[in-house]
Amino acid sequence: MQALSSDTTTLQNVTTTERIPAVEGWFTTSEPYTLIGAKCTGCGTVVFPPRSGSCPSPDCDGAELEPTPLSRKGKVWSYTENHYAPPPPYVAAEPFEPYALAAVELEAEGIVILGQVATGVMAADLSIGQEVEVDLQVLYRNDEGVDHWIWTWAPSAPKGSA
């Protein structure tokens, strides 16, 4: 669902049972939706996607990283719109519908993270510097009919509703 959706929808989602993430441990599947990075217990640097075993900083010997929620909101660093279906392992909808991608800067973490933009929000609706926030939507439905969810970037509601 998009952050722009109505309160009713939001409520529905909160009460929905477990969502299956398309990838484990990279984002929360209940509200408030956030991406989950990893934070080095040694030097405090943050990395996304989360990883373990080794700090990404060449000057830090840290081998312990713990999951850390990232800022829910960020500013668009750049964006684009895919007009052709990506090849597998992407599971493209048929017929293919163009969608936007945004690279979003999280100020506190000093990190830019790419993501699909919430369905229906296209390049023409975006601009560099615009505030967006994490939301979730279905990435694909597998052969058993199970939806798999992924994070998206959704323009923050004008009135700042979460």
Partner: protein, 400 residues
């Protein structure tokens, strides 16, 4: 001035770029034989074979050094097989160069060839959560053009570039490519052609993005002593002044293929010189030359907009002013700083492991005044630069 560490490009050879789907080895053999003939060196005399790998052609592609050695006829030569995505050819070049400078060989072949075989093109199978390539394709559908487009969009919104500026790059390169018999697309495009070109990843159209091609390129490189013995003089020989082989420095704060996120600069400050700037910088340092010395450059125009970035990374203009150079014809054949006089990837389409070697072939011929139909006047110093996925930056500088 060249020193004794500056190896000689004794010969260069290519198989023209195109799309036939033949075995990549067939293309490579043509390039290898052409390079040997150009160098007037017998295959038996090659002491080291540096192959640039292709990863879509089964086992023979993974061991390119071996594959071409066997195809040409085993001679007991030393070999290497290098992979570095789009920079594979440059890595193979550096492999041969280091072996020669280390004293393990006097003369070497650097070779790469590619094809798009029938029946399998998708990324390597399997679910690999830790593979950035799997991540970006499976979870985001973030194709290569999408990354090019993010970059292009920044140029528009931050620097004020227009999509016409991008199109001008293609217009310029396609015009130069018409004169190059090794180019695949020998058709001149105009701005009008862009209107009819479908958007692939907004703001980039199909014509903004380079194709993938079949092709092969090979060069013979050797010590100055070897060249001296062969030619009786070093006058007029093309010398390898630098091959930089550069990786990013943490934190890498620019989003680059295939990563879906940048490093964080919250704890460690980003280096003063960004990754792409450092690729050229390291090569200039190694060569003792600067942007002002470059007569012509071959840059990796995977997209039109990307070529404008390279102008800035190479120091041909300040950041954000790249578009001016293409608008004013500075980088056109006949301009004061010709870029991609070969026609570039716009005219070739990329044959991945061969492309960086083809850049060296092109520059060699330019410096020798052998680029009939697309010759840069009075070329003395040539530079080739490219960037491969996963932090592979390479820049080669040649001079005559």
């Amino acid at each position: 001035m060249a020193t004794e560490r500056d190896l000689v490009v004794l010969g260069a050879g290519m198989h023209p770029w195109g799309k036939w789907g033949k075995n990549f080895v067939d293309y490579g053999l043509v390039a290898a034989k052409a390079a040997l003939a150009d160098a007037d060196v017998a295959w038996r005399d090659i002491e080291f074979v540096a192959g640039a790998d292709t990863i879509r052609n089964g086992y023979p592609g993974f061991v390119a050094g071996s594959t071409f050695s066997q195809a040409m006829g085993w001679t007991g030569a030393q070999i290497s097989s290098s992979y570095a995505a789009c920079a594979s050819g440059a890595q193979a070049m550096q492999s041969a160069r280091a072996q020669i400078l280390a004293g393990f060989a006097d003369v070497a072949m650097v070779i790469g060839a590619d094809t798009t075989p029938k029946g399998f093109f998708a990324p390597v199978g399997g679910e690999r959560k830790e593979d950035p390539d799997w991540q970006r394709f499976h979870l985001l559908g973030a194709t290569n053009p999408a990354f090019f487009a993010l970059n292009a969009r920044r140029r528009i919104d931050v620097f004020g570039d227009t999509v016409e500026d991008f199109a001008l790059v293609k217009v310029k390169n396609s015009k130069a490519g018409v004169g190059n018999p090794n180019a695949r697309f020998r058709k001149e495009f105009t701005l009008d052609d862009f209107a009819g070109s479908p958007i692939v990843s907004d703001p980039l159209r199909l014509l903004d993005i380079c194709a993938t091609s079949d092709g092969a390129a090979a060069v013979i490189i050797c010590t100055p002593e070897y060249a001296m013995k062969k030619l009786g003089t070093l006058q007029g020989t093309v010398r390898i002044r630098a091959v930089s082989n550069t990786t990013p420095t943490y934190p890498q704060v620019r989003l680059e293929l295939p990563d879906i996120a940048t490093d964080s600069n919250s704890v460690v400050q980003a280096p003063a010189r960004g990754f792409k700037d450092s690729i050229a910088y390291n090569a200039y340092e190694q060569a003792g030359l600067g942007p002002e010395d470059v007569s012509c450059a071959e840059v990796y125009d995977l997209s039109t907009a990307l070529e404008l970035d390279w102008y800035e990374n190479l120091g041909f203009c300040p950041e954000g002013e790249g578009a001016r150079l293409v608008r004013d014809g500075v980088t056109a054949l006949g301009g004061s700083k010709p870029v991609n006089a070969s026609g570039g990837l716009a005219s070739f389409g990329e044959a991945i492991p061969a492309q960086a070697i083809a850049q060296v072939c092109e520059l060699t011929w330019q410096l020798q005044g052998r680029s009939d139909g697309h010759q840069v006047e009075n070329a003395k110093v040539g530079l080739a630069i490219n960037q491969g996925l996963f932090g592979h930056g390479s820049c080669t500088i040649l001079s005559v």
